[in-house]
């Protein structure tokens, strides 16, 4: 059994911006045992999953994959990529597999074994489970999944834990391309497979998942090195000017999480309540004390997004102080003109009033003050592009014709940046954010092996 394992995390979201190479090359000299990177995020909004498209240019994704592939093949160590192409749909996995094949030919690499783990779920299978009375609980206060939710959804992925990845490693895979996966799992899987304690293994994943975001000063896309032993985890910043400090590592534990003490994944959770952080050396922080708590049942998280409608945008500016004092009346006028033509339902119309509360909307404490100018982005969403265009055009034009009794500027109540409306990409929505009970933690996932 190995006494320690070294894993490099070169980027927190593969392809979102190209990874930086200096710190990566420094890391390669440390003789790592694995290089792992996740490409996923649900920060990017529901559109990439709903429309099954990528959030980042393929060129950047190829850039990162090329450097990781060449380095791991040269060192003869495995590479693990999670959540292929932002969302981890089957299309994303296939895209990455084709990129890997192309790169192998381009660089004339010796033969290696590639595993791809698919995690996209068929709507029919989920609907069947609901029909059979299986409850799929909601996360973050959402009610249990309904047939209606599934019907509103275009694409669903299940988020894998360590189990299918460990299976692929045991089968001898050199390169593993995963569909949607928990960022923690792609780092924890090799550590658990090599026999390290689960609590430490999952914490290793937790701290490495965003690469240099656990270091300071703030730098994106720089590599960090994680070292796990049977007693502790050490995490070291590889960039010459960066350090992993107690402050930077511990504050990363709470990044993008409602609760910094627990991290949930398939088969249990990580309890970080009793974690101890110490400055090991100038660039390295040592962590002890994370505890793995197994769950009684296996649940797999499901993510789903669906199209709401076609979308157009209009842009209008207002400078007249009297009009600004009566801004809500202006917007009400424009909305009523839309209602008169299209009725109350079957579409969405939103006014984003930049300069007042365009950024924070309902949460803005200063939404009642009168600014000296505002920019209004009109957003119209409807089942067809024609209808969305007409709704947005009607609302934008009627801001110009708003009827206010004492207005002095009788030649128009707004300024147009452009006198047209712009076609936006369709609007999508996160329709599924739930956890599905499964008999085994590998059930929703399918592994294929290829010789490249």
């Amino acid at each position: 059994m190995k006494s320690r394992l070294k894993i490099i995390s070169p980027t927190g979201h593969l392809g979102f911006a190209p990874m930086k190479l200096e710190s990566f090359r420094i890391g390669l000299k440390e003789n790592p045992d694995y290089i792992c990177a996740d490409s996923g995020s649900d920060d990017i909004g529901p559109k990439p999953l709903g429309s099954d498209t990528q959030a980042s240019p393929v060129k950047w994704q190829e850039h990162d994959l090329e450097h990781i592939l060449l380095a791991t093949r040269q060192l003869n160590i495995p590479m693990i990529i999670g959540s292929a192409c932002d969302t981890g749909t089957n299309r994303g996995v296939d895209l990455y597999v084709n990129i890997i094949k192309k790169l192998a030919r381009k660089h004339n690499l010796p033969r290696f074994k590639l595993a791809c783990i698919y995690s996209q779920q068929s709507k029919d299978v989920i609907l069947e489970k609901l029909k059979n009375g299986i409850e799929i609980p909601g996360l973050d206060g959402r009610p249990p999944l309904t047939e209606e939710d599934v019907k509103k959804t275009d694409n669903i992925v299940a988020v894998m834990g360590v189990h299918p990845i460990i299976q692929a490693l045991e089968a001898g895979a050199d390169v593993i391309i995963c569909g949607r996966s928990s960022d923690v799992a792609i780092f924890a899987a090799p550590a658990i497979k090599e026999g390290f304690p689960k609590g430490l293994a999952y914490y290793l994943g937790k701290v490495l998942e965003c690469a240099s975001f656990c270091a300071e000063p703030y730098m994106g896309k720089e590599s960090v090195l994680g070292i796990i032993t049977h007693e502790d985890i050490k995490v070291r910043a590889l960039h010459p000017d960066a350090r992993c400090t107690v402050a930077s590592v511990s504050s990363h534990a709470m990044y993008e999480r409602a609760n910094p003490f627990y991290e949930y994944f398939v088969g249990g959770r990580l309890n970080m309540t009793h974690c101890k952080y110490e400055q090991y050396d100038y660039k390295t922080t040592r962590i002890t004390g994370p505890v793995f708590e197994p769950a009684e049942k296996y649940y797999v998280k499901l993510e789903g997004a669906g199209k709401v409608g076609e979308r157009y945008f209009g842009i209008a500016g207002i400078r007249d102080p009297y009009t600004l004092e009566n801004l809500d009346k202006v917007l009400e006028w424009a909305r009523n003109e839309v209602k008169a033509e299209f009725g109350d339902t079957g579409y969405q119309l939103h006014f984003h009033v930049f300069g007042r509360n365009g950024v924070m909307e309902e949460l803005e404490p200063l939404k009642y003050i009168t600014p000296h100018e505002v920019g209004i982005v009109v957003e119209g969403v409807a089942p067809t592009a024609e209808m969305a265009e007409m709704i947005t055009m009607t609302a934008t034009r009627q801001i110009f014709y708003a009827r206010l009794p004492e207005v002095k500027g009788t030649a128009g109540t707004c300024a147009y940046l452009i006198d047209e409306v712009l076609k936006g990409s369709p609007a999508y929505m996160w329709t599924i954010h739930h956890i599905m009970p499964v008999d085994t933690p590998t059930e929703p996932f399918k592994i294929n092996y290829l010789e490249v």
């Binding site: 649900d42 206060g141 409602a258 609760n259 003490f261 969405q348 924070m360 404490p365 929505m429």
Partner: protein, 114 residues
């Protein structure tokens, strides 16, 4: 900070914190982190109890039930809280897909320093 204590009775949170930020925590939540440079600043704000559910709800004009978590995280000298979004991130009508610009009202929270 000691010099200021003699002259002023309270300070704004922005003067005391090293980091104040907001970000999505999944599609339905926005989480806020207030991180302090050292234990002294952290303990001062923690003991003052000015960051509480009632105050946060009042500041953002929302019902207290929408504040899902409020935790003090000693290892990072941080106080963090989380609120439920009105609609999931990126839905039509939503204005901050990443939830990354919702923190500025926290700057002006008054912290007693005596």
């Amino acid at each position: 900070m000691n010099n200021m204590r003699t002259r002023r009775k309270e300070m704004r949170l922005v003067e005391l914190a090293k980091t104040i930020r907001s970000k999505n925590a999944g599609p339905d939540r926005i989480t806020f982190d207030i991180i302090f440079q050292d234990k002294e600043h952290y303990e001062l704000v923690k003991k003052s109890q000015v960051i509480n559910k009632q105050q946060i709800a009042k500041l953002f004009g929302i019902d207290e039930s929408r504040i899902t978590d409020l935790v003090e995280f000693d290892p990072a000298n941080a106080i963090k809280f989380t609120i439920a979004r009105r609609h999931p991130s990126g839905s039509p009508g939503e204005s901050d897909t990443f939830g990354s610009q919702q923190y500025p009202p926290l700057y002006n929270i008054k912290v007693p320093i005596q």
